[in-house]
Symmetry: C2
Subunit: 302 residues, 2 copies
């Protein structure tokens, strides 16, 4: 019973009000895999990199329980590169550079050993590739979670809407929920989006927590007020990884299990933003994660 | 054991994406008094209006348990008037007109019968007037709650900081907390502001809920995702009224009681924004309020 995840594996160069990095490892998939690794040790990764990608990071993923058989390494080509600069409020950012490189003609190959898939986590990528992965699985996974973003709503809405019909959980932020539904009220937005296909909708609100809609219920997970937020990059992917990793290990997958999964996803995301890149979610102890998750539940307890 | 509140009593003209009003009754004090009336029936109001103010609204306040002996009615003068237009996101607004009128030389008079005061709720006003009210009370109330805004931070910061030393609870929004403290992290901001005088700090985050800091603890109250938000005007005042009204009736005033008070304040505020002006918080049943408060606590329950 494994977690299959697809997403970018990339280099990022990040500038925040608190500092600046050279090229460091980024992309959705490393965050998802690392965060999931605290809950399940059967993680299968599908992605593509160039031969400029550091073998020691692949080793690190393997050490964190990730099978990288599905990670294509393209000889003589370069990995996907993204560079961005956060504004002072850390809630918005400018993209300075996007070099697709190997991603331009990425054709996801699912190794035979990946076919026994309980949870499929589709990291943010072109909706067409996300759909291809679903179709290349021989059996429908118990749960398909899809992350996406406004960029695809702008340039590939039809493909996105098609893919949406095939997934169980959609994970987007509040402005994306408003864009996709055309509704300002998040409650109305949720109702419209749930009618587009997914049975559950997670609306991420960054420093304001997250909402889960589904089974005619609403759950509100708070965000922990943190002393330091150094770098929001990957927080959403980390959240998705903690969420899907927790559910891959869960006996029952329903609204109740998803509530707990969201708390753990939020806890992991809170570790992520305290350091640059993936640094904050490497080598965490189970005790530290449990203590952080307790803070999330205690903070809302009357 | 009563609640004493001071705040503007005014006319508002409001435009939101959903509609437009002519002059309707507004100002901080009517929202505070109406919201508080669901928890305590001993509300003493200090404010000033012109003789253009409708007697039937004063009667309505009286019917909702508010003593208006301290409401000065200035013959031949006009009431305070504010006009504003909300942007499409409803989180920001432009002020179109502000006519101080009677407020320009307001000198708050505290009737003898108001002196037995358990909770003092200082609605948003010039910090100097807020301070005058504190000094005109013969005995220090058990709890002094102060609402203020960025406007006073910009033009009367010294007076605001002086008043802050005299209060127990400060109630501001997230951008104001950042402005007042010079810190982006709300946790750091809270630590700095608590060092300025108040023992408790409430940070209102509108559609994202509210945070309470104090006694080395943090509490996060969610906001209910609503189908309709027609008019955010007065939501903060309603929250403050529900909060202070609940505490005026509470046997013990501590962090635990404040958590419950914030839930009730949030519940009342959620009714407020569903209609224009004060309409949403007039004539509510106790059952409706309890049911709404239950939604707030159930929404965060694992």
């Amino acid at each position: 019973m494994s977690l299959l995840t697809i997403g970018t594996v990339a280099f990022d160069a990040i500038e925040t009000p608190f500092g600046k990095t050279d090229k460091i490892v980024g992309g959705a998939a490393p965050y998802i895999a690392l965060a999931a690794s605290y809950f399940t040790n059967k993680i299968n990764l599908v992605s593509v990199v160039g031969d400029d990608f550091p073998q020691n990071f692949i080793n690190l993923l393997e050490k964190h329980g990730t099978n990288t058989e599905g990670l294509q390494i393209k000889k003589g080509e370069k990995s996907f590169f993204w560079s961005g600069k956060y504004h002072d409020d850390m809630n918005s950012r400018d993209t300075l550079a996007t070099e697709l490189n190997v991603l331009a003609d990425f054709d996801p190959v699912i190794p035979k050993s990946y076919q026994d898939c309980k949870v499929l986590m589709l990291g943010n990528l072109t909706p067409t590739i996300q759909q291809t992965v679903i179709k290349r699985l021989e059996r429908k996974p118990q749960l398909i979670v899809m992350d996406t973003m406004n960029f695809w709503m702008n340039i590939a809405l039809d493909e996105l809407l098609e893919t949406l019909k095939l997934v169980d959980v959609l994970c987007i932020n509040d402005s994306e929920a408003r864009q996709l539904s055309g509704e300002y009220s998040l409650k109305k937005a949720a109702n419209k989006i749930l009618a587009m296909g997914p049975r559950y909708l997670i609306i991420k609100k960054g420093e304001h927590g997250a909402l889960l809609f589904g089974e005619d219920q609403v759950f509100y997970a708070p965000a922990l007020p943190l002393e330091e937020v150094f770098d929001p990059t990957g927080a959403g992917d980390t959240f998705a990884g903690g969420f899907s990793g927790y559910l891959a290990h869960s006996e029952i997958i329903n609204f109740g299990a998803m509530k707990r999964a969201i708390i753990y996803g939020s806890a992991l995301a809170s570790f992520c933003v305290e350091k640059f890149g993936t640094e904050g979610i490497i080598g965490l102890s189970q005790e530290a994660i449990e203590a952080r998750a307790r803070q999330f539940t205690e903070m809302v307890t009357i």
